[in-house]
Symmetry: C4
Subunit: 495 residues, 4 copies
Amino acid sequence: MSRIISPEEVAKHNQKSDIWVIIHGKVYDLTQFLPDHPGGQKIIMKYAGKDATKAFEPIHPPDIVDRFLAPEVCMGSIDLEKLSHVKIEETEEDKQIRLAREKMPRLEEMYNSFDFETVARSVLKSDAWAYYSSGSDDEITMRENHSAFHRIWFRPRVMVNVKDVDTSTEMLGSRTSLPLYITATALGKLGHPEGEVVLTKACKTRDIIQMIPTLASCSFDEIVNAAGPNQAQWLQLYVNSNRQVSEKFVRHAESRGMKGLFITVDAPQLGHREKDMRQKYSQEDPDEISRNSTEVVRDQGAARAISNFIDPSLCWDDIAWFKSITNMPILIKGVQTAQDAVLAAKYGCKGIVLSNHGGRQLDFAPSAIEILAEVMDALKRENLDKGFEVYIDGGIRRGSDIFKAIALGAKGVGIGRPFLYAMSSYGVEGVEKLLDLFQSEFEMVMRFMGVTKISDITADMVDIRNIKDHFVANPIDYLSQTSYERMQPRGGSKL
Amino acid sequence: MSRIISPEEVAKHNQKSDIWVIIHGKVYDLTQFLPDHPGGQKIIMKYAGKDATKAFEPIHPPDIVDRFLAPEVCMGSIDLEKLSHVKIEETEEDKQIRLAREKMPRLEEMYNSFDFETVARSVLKSDAWAYYSSGSDDEITMRENHSAFHRIWFRPRVMVNVKDVDTSTEMLGSRTSLPLYITATALGKLGHPEGEVVLTKACKTRDIIQMIPTLASCSFDEIVNAAGPNQAQWLQLYVNSNRQVSEKFVRHAESRGMKGLFITVDAPQLGHREKDMRQKYSQEDPDEISRNSTEVVRDQGAARAISNFIDPSLCWDDIAWFKSITNMPILIKGVQTAQDAVLAAKYGCKGIVLSNHGGRQLDFAPSAIEILAEVMDALKRENLDKGFEVYIDGGIRRGSDIFKAIALGAKGVGIGRPFLYAMSSYGVEGVEKLLDLFQSEFEMVMRFMGVTKISDITADMVDIRNIKDHFVANPIDYLSQTSYERMQPRGGSKL
Amino acid sequence: MSRIISPEEVAKHNQKSDIWVIIHGKVYDLTQFLPDHPGGQKIIMKYAGKDATKAFEPIHPPDIVDRFLAPEVCMGSIDLEKLSHVKIEETEEDKQIRLAREKMPRLEEMYNSFDFETVARSVLKSDAWAYYSSGSDDEITMRENHSAFHRIWFRPRVMVNVKDVDTSTEMLGSRTSLPLYITATALGKLGHPEGEVVLTKACKTRDIIQMIPTLASCSFDEIVNAAGPNQAQWLQLYVNSNRQVSEKFVRHAESRGMKGLFITVDAPQLGHREKDMRQKYSQEDPDEISRNSTEVVRDQGAARAISNFIDPSLCWDDIAWFKSITNMPILIKGVQTAQDAVLAAKYGCKGIVLSNHGGRQLDFAPSAIEILAEVMDALKRENLDKGFEVYIDGGIRRGSDIFKAIALGAKGVGIGRPFLYAMSSYGVEGVEKLLDLFQSEFEMVMRFMGVTKISDITADMVDIRNIKDHFVANPIDYLSQTSYERMQPRGGSKL
Amino acid sequence: MSRIISPEEVAKHNQKSDIWVIIHGKVYDLTQFLPDHPGGQKIIMKYAGKDATKAFEPIHPPDIVDRFLAPEVCMGSIDLEKLSHVKIEETEEDKQIRLAREKMPRLEEMYNSFDFETVARSVLKSDAWAYYSSGSDDEITMRENHSAFHRIWFRPRVMVNVKDVDTSTEMLGSRTSLPLYITATALGKLGHPEGEVVLTKACKTRDIIQMIPTLASCSFDEIVNAAGPNQAQWLQLYVNSNRQVSEKFVRHAESRGMKGLFITVDAPQLGHREKDMRQKYSQEDPDEISRNSTEVVRDQGAARAISNFIDPSLCWDDIAWFKSITNMPILIKGVQTAQDAVLAAKYGCKGIVLSNHGGRQLDFAPSAIEILAEVMDALKRENLDKGFEVYIDGGIRRGSDIFKAIALGAKGVGIGRPFLYAMSSYGVEGVEKLLDLFQSEFEMVMRFMGVTKISDITADMVDIRNIKDHFVANPIDYLSQTSYERMQPRGGSKL
């Protein structure tokens, strides 16, 4: 391990039968490991004889090398001085991103979450954009998540003294400046070299709760360490087929002060995200692919690779076991029906997140806001609503969306992608700015609605007749629309 | 004050530490005032050492200099003769507007209010267009205001003698040629150098009521003076945090013969109008901005500056006080629910305006026409509808819209933006022409509906089944649509 | 009258103070008449000293010269031989139409009514296209007329012997090959030099009823004379303010064998057809216009001029008078509510046409098909449906539309514009072809629906749940859409 | 028959009065037959003196020459060696298709059925694309078939052990890997030189049932012979006016082991498929056409020609006869109402296919999925649902569509066009890949819905409120939209 190796030497080991790769300053001989790589051989071959750190980092947890590679495949340390002189040619994509970053608007010009999304689309690498932005199948649920809020209208009250408006609230016992948390999303380093700690830092200055993802690019402890002394954080958990792994993780999280455990239950397998798959495919060398047709899941890339430990056999009976290993409040993330909301309460959970995983799992799953009212009704009917906290996520993009959720009974809302976009384009300041925008919009809506504190917000302030009738216009189906040949009349020459 | 100063001398005082500016023929030393300017330093610096009158005038009331500046900062009068020789370079925008004005269609070619809007868009300065045309957030309520009328259909009766049709009516005791008034809108001089008196003059010849805005570019008395001897006018009031200011204003208005007092209650703070904000921002010099990052509200510009006196603590209890200071009929402008309509009647108001402020305040507030039927039902249920006058504004663009409002119980309708557009492009004649178009359209609709006078119009003449069910299709969300990346099938080469 | 005048001589009289014009081979001195021309002076001045026949003919009834001009203004006959040598310069529009006509598709390629509309758009003069194709205001009713059929779906029955399908039926006692008639439309010579007789000839070979319009380009007798011995025709009547004119017309029509009298009641004034108005306006010389600003109705042109005799005081009491002057069955054309349908029956009419005048009068009038079911219900409730014939027109473009109308209770449907388009582009053969297409489509629908004769068609064969709930999506509002400035996110450079 | 004829000799017989044509290596004198050709003379004349095999093959059954031509018109065999040297010029279309095929994406890049459709559109000859892709009239039913699925949303259950999911089921007593069969579609060789056996081969490896069409390009026996030993196949039957032909066919099919007889009842005549008609028309020589105007049905081409044997007099009474000639379970394909579903059960059928023939027959026929729920309700009400198998086809493009059909009571779904597209572009591997995609999508949906086997799927898992209310938005009407001239405001120059 102590040997210093020159880049030139590494470069010689650049074929399947003899492949070395540099990761985080160390040189590894991956010749044996190559066929076992869950993400496919292709991506490793791309860095044969080279430094793979930048590609490796966003999609692997920091400790994975030690867990998967035997110590003897580490051939030594790279000569960092010499490595720094190795000229890395700028790719066309890197160049375009560099130019786009130079032309980025000032942060002061960002007026809403869509501005961040649009900027992010121009400055993110295409694999990051594809991974963050994609939904499953025809992305109908993903788009519905946002659209459903637009079927809800306000009933604003006037002539109320709204001089002082207080947007703060309490979620799972922690005080927070807004009924909003940054929800768990994977692979933060795809968007920003520092990864999820960027979100942590912004949460600190704005008094916002962050839900830490199992599949973070940063290690769990890095994220916790970045938090302030009284900063509340929650843990999102993908349950491992190997329950000992999960148990260890949960116990450690509790010891680090997590205020809630959110068990994700809508991902027994990975959704079919076609934009992401197409992007992954196009990066590969087609000739290589055809010659290696056995690598069938290759095109689902990193996301599939990192998620295949998730246990599809998870069921209600497992709740008892979780309660036996932790005192954290347990919440079920991914509930999509009133029946399951009731079951969660009956099994002794502290709450639920109504969520369809950002439209990334089952297409045509209903949006959380669409079913929120019927969920609250069912809980009340069963007398299970007291002390049971219902959160929603998916499609929240405006302060008005937050208000609608609170009015219909949510304790708070989770927001994911917009913060990834803010983080990817502007770092900590971007996330803070977006939080400020949500704060400002939400406070304004409260004022215009004639309320001054969260507990004033009631269900009769929103008009949900369209929701009750499930009045959903036909969603746009881009694939079908594009492949269809439109009819044309036999025309004249003047048109 | 009597000293005559040459333009050359003024031009020397053109920096932050020593800044003179010409306004209305006087020269002011604004060096001390600069940091206190509610609209930001930027816009003043733009005119350092120069004549700022044209920029100053549309967005400041005429007496503001005396109210805000100490007499000693007035350094004297500008040498008007010499000033007239100072060559002012035509900006690119001014040039384009000049050319557009040369190509303006003749007034005879204007067939509807949209024609005026389209022409105005081409001949207005971008700051005026942005201020007049923008709505809040995603402008969904602003667009819904007009769209909602399109969900109401007619039930026309035939074989009725409709030779003579009378469109005249009475509103708050004043006779008028149409159940239509020009509603209060701010900053008229942005669109026309003469400001709101343009509207006053057209109202005079067409026998139409004008509602005078608190935030007019012209002074209140200028507008009243422009009216004819029996011309009815109303006053729109933003209630000042300093109630003495409001009291003085109301008493003065009553003494000048105002026929009604309309208290605006939907603006406890200014709405988030992003088009206007972007336009304001783009006018500034970005480098300056970054160096002055403390000026955080600068980009909300004049609108925010002139509106921050409005009292957010206004509430129902204040009605008694208003009744104690005036005998004018008091109406609440900005009611948006049946509950508040009932409260207004119970608190002894003479009427209400159902309004969401032209979609400029709370996005997803319902349109006035949408809630009109349920408001009338509620008033009747409570036996409060007799003598209580209900007006609506927002989205009225056709004679058929007016008919629908009357059929559902409105006493009259307020129209704002279309008259700003007519005024800005064609002055008094434009406003008169647009009033003639409304007259002609409304009379035609009455004839086709088989009625000959306003009191013949009844609720069974309109089909509001879609309104009753609140069947609202998903509004178009341009920001979300634009930032979304559409799916595409993996295509062939022939397409 | 016998003097032969040369074109050169006529050409000298080409100014307001001395103007001669050639019409149908005669030379008229119009100097005195000029200011009285109902269609404005402009259009006459365009032909000062020239042959005006081609412009005159489509929009004037043949006998109008004798009725309006004194014999002495006829200066003699034009020298036809010399006139034929006068070179008439081809206008740009005429040239484009000539080229478009050369490229017209073959008649065999016409598969539906939209093909004819598209071809007509390319080969019609712009004034004809504007007059035929326009609707009133935002053309929302005009478009709804067709769209409403699309909210009705079929319930087709299978396993029925449909070898032989009979599409013939009886309307007002006359046998016809289809439950379809060509409805009355004005100014046929705008589209085809022979005018309405083109339709008559096609009706003859296809056994179809034609409704003769009051405002035909051909004289009434020309149209009747063109018919075959047993060919049924109906008369459409605009009631004249001078009832003697109407009486004379009706009595004459009865004597010529008309089988039905359809009194139009939805046009107490002319609708506001903006496309038509814009087209008329653009043809005039703007400078002339501004100098003659008193000609205020000039831009409504011929249509207004020829229609201002229509009596807006027509009412139900007039029915008795009509019954006193004719034995023809009387039908009311333009009924738009169930209440008026019931009244028509109670006043002893033989039937009605549910119609909104092709969307050319009141915008937001409901489509005929939309109200047909409630009209039939009301008639049945009042026991007035037996022997009372209900027709509809507006938006019928497919055989399936005809079937839907019959299923909901119509005795037959009127079709207008499509036949104008077929006539204008292909003459008699075009109209025959379109009739054949309707025959073929309608027969096919009957076969697929499992019926073999008209009387088999029943209301339960169509699904009208959307109609019952009046489930109308927001119509497209092109003017508003075009003048609106869409929101855009602050974007990145990559998009 | 034994004479060997040279291409040069054949080439001499190239006119109407003396025409030879080569088909499948034989030379035929078609001079006498020419006027009797059901598909018109034009298409034969195109191959006068040439080899017509490639054009002949896709649209004629293999044994048709023997059935229609007398032995003596066969003049002998072509000299194959010499024929192979005859240079056939590549048409522009053939060239473009060749180039498109070279650029075809790899099969691995196909992620859904729309990808196959898009690729097929680029590599199919225009006549094949037109025939496969077209629907009737305005193609509203065709598009609705797919859209209707989008009005159904899921109610997914979580926390269910979904480790092992079994998608297999039984249809008409045969085990199959998916509740999906490849339904009958005509003229397979238009898309692939081997025709329907391509589908057969893919069904074999994927354990899927194929429904063999009456109008296959391959002979029935070719298709059956291509199947594996235990591979289940069904027969689709167009009933011949000559019942003996049908009897012979049915008896033979039963002897070859068909597991079900599907009698098509929605095609008493051919639908009006305008895209197909236009394509056919444009291929012909217009000059020829005009000179032969008697060939009136020529433009409906092959499809009409091959289908005119279908008996439009087929009715319920015929079921008894079918039961007398076969023991195969009899199913009615093309039922579109609950009433007919009940009748089918009462007449002793084994089941039905709810179908509108892929939107190729009656436009505005409801989609199968739309009526499925009411059909199941009706059958249950009449106690006829046990053992009665209901299938649907039309618009199924995703695994989620299959799940929705099963949830609402279907035993399985038929899919047609997508497999034609997969077959046409990638042959057997393409069909297999598409089957794999459906398998993968359907299994994923089952997992996300919380079910592990077909029988777990229940009606309460889907939200069909929109379907129950038949809430159908106005379909897009491309012809009408294109021919309509949109309104435009009188605009300014800046836009």
